[in-house]
Symmetry: C2
Subunit: 253 residues, 2 copies
């Protein structure tokens, strides 16, 4: 028995999320199918985390146990030949049997992309949330850093589990604004927001982003963030931002 | 009667090209439909040139005559509200009635994108021709510049018209290579090839690119280009490169 670890990238547009669900097309399902076609084995693939329907991954990490004797250096091409064009295996390594893509993960980084321009870019429309009206970028920056550190993120979680902890640590955030040349208005451009943490609750990044967008629109002051966290009440935060702007950026072990 | 000129961008993936064809979905058809829904008029839209099935446009220029009294500054949003998400109007202006998007054009620039990496980027796979094996970039650069100037491009044209001239002028070319960080091999990265000319024959850019790729693969020396041009024979040139790597970049008047 071997434990194979793969870094995979996918355009989530066509999928009902990462995790296998009856009747739905999922990334996990496509990966398991590729392994089955390649080796004849029905393996169970584990990801570092589930991504929701429409969410992308630059570097998702998966692992699975296999009896296959195919050498590790052959797997990347063999998998890519059997995967649809919106999923790609970037690298493959063998790990000790106790390595687990989710449980062994130390840090995860997500990126959310907002396109703040007069018209949507047709070539990246599947990767960015289009926001044609002005945003107060400085207020958004100020609000973002208030999420750093250890907090109870109950207000930023769509499905609370009564038995589970909602405490997570955000180690760092980054607000990367790339202005559009010749746009005229100073806030026009593409915004990439990065969050790195020890784990994320269901929809946590998207609810934080939905709240930051309300800050950018002037509907809330950035100084409200601590009170929203302290309320531990989903209704106090903003809406869940659309899935297609979100990308699992990297996972560190 | 007014003459409206629009700069439009489209992801050509879903279209049977720019020009209206019976039974096929085309960019021109979608634009004419948007005008019809907006004004009730059945206008005839003219583009600066036809782009083939699957070819994209960053800045295609179109014009049409209309009786509509809608102010020019209202058209962009009104059109974009009625267009599918893969076509966008970037700007609108009014021009003298004798302005013609194709006949008045002075220079056109096309860009072709080749992704020379070990695996395809799932997020830009609709915009780049994926070439996983090595390419001799220096030989491709040398071959590209040999197309500059005035030439008979009969060897680089898929449909010769017995009555028409096949002489065109390429004013300038550019070879923009963006290396992939940490890739290991020196030629790994994304290649953007730009060609600016007074006009382009059918499939001319794609046949030049197909020939350059053969040069990059070591199948032909770059020094063969003058002889291929001189032969005025389509069979002497390389294959027609795939449509999805091609983008109409800009049109100058």
């Amino acid at each position: 028995m071997r434990n194979l670890v793969m870094v995979v990238s996918y355009d989530g547009s066509a999928y009902s999320g990462f995790q296998v669900q009856p009747k739905d097309t999922t990334v996990q399902g496509k990966l398991e199918e590729a392994v089955r076609v390649l080796t004849g084995e029905q393996v169970k693939i584990h990801g570092s985390g589930r991504t929701d329907a429409g969410v992308h991954a630059r570097e998702q990490v998966i692992h699975f146990h296999t009896e296959s004797q195919i050498p590790v250096q052959r797997w990347r091409l063999a998998m890519n030949a059997r995967l649809p064009s919106d999923i790609v295996v970037k690298s493959v390594r063998e790990a000790p049997l106790d390595f687990h893509s989710r449980r062994s993960a130390k840090r995860k980084t997500y990126r959310y992309t907002i396109q703040r321009t007069r018209y949507a870019d047709v070539f990246t429309r599947h990767l960015a949330f289009f926001h044609p009206t002005p945003l107060d970028l400085e207020a958004m920056r100020q609000a973002l850093v208030l999420f750093e550190g250890e907090h109870d993120f109950s207000s930023f979680c769509s499905t609370r589990r009564p038995d589970g902890s909602h405490v997570r640590t955000i180690y760092e955030t980054a607000f990367d604004f790339r202005p559009e040349p010749d746009a005229g208005d100073g806030d026009a451009g593409v915004i990439h927001i990065y969050m790195t943490g020890n784990g994320f609750l269901h929809n946590m990044v998207r609810i934080i982003i939905g709240t930051l967008i309300e800050v950018g629109e002037g509907k809330r002051p950035s100084s409200d963030m601590p009170a929203i966290l302290a309320a531990m009440d989903r209704k106090k935060a903003g809406p869940t931002a659309m899935a297609h702007g979100l990308m699992l950026w990297k996972v560190e072990y």
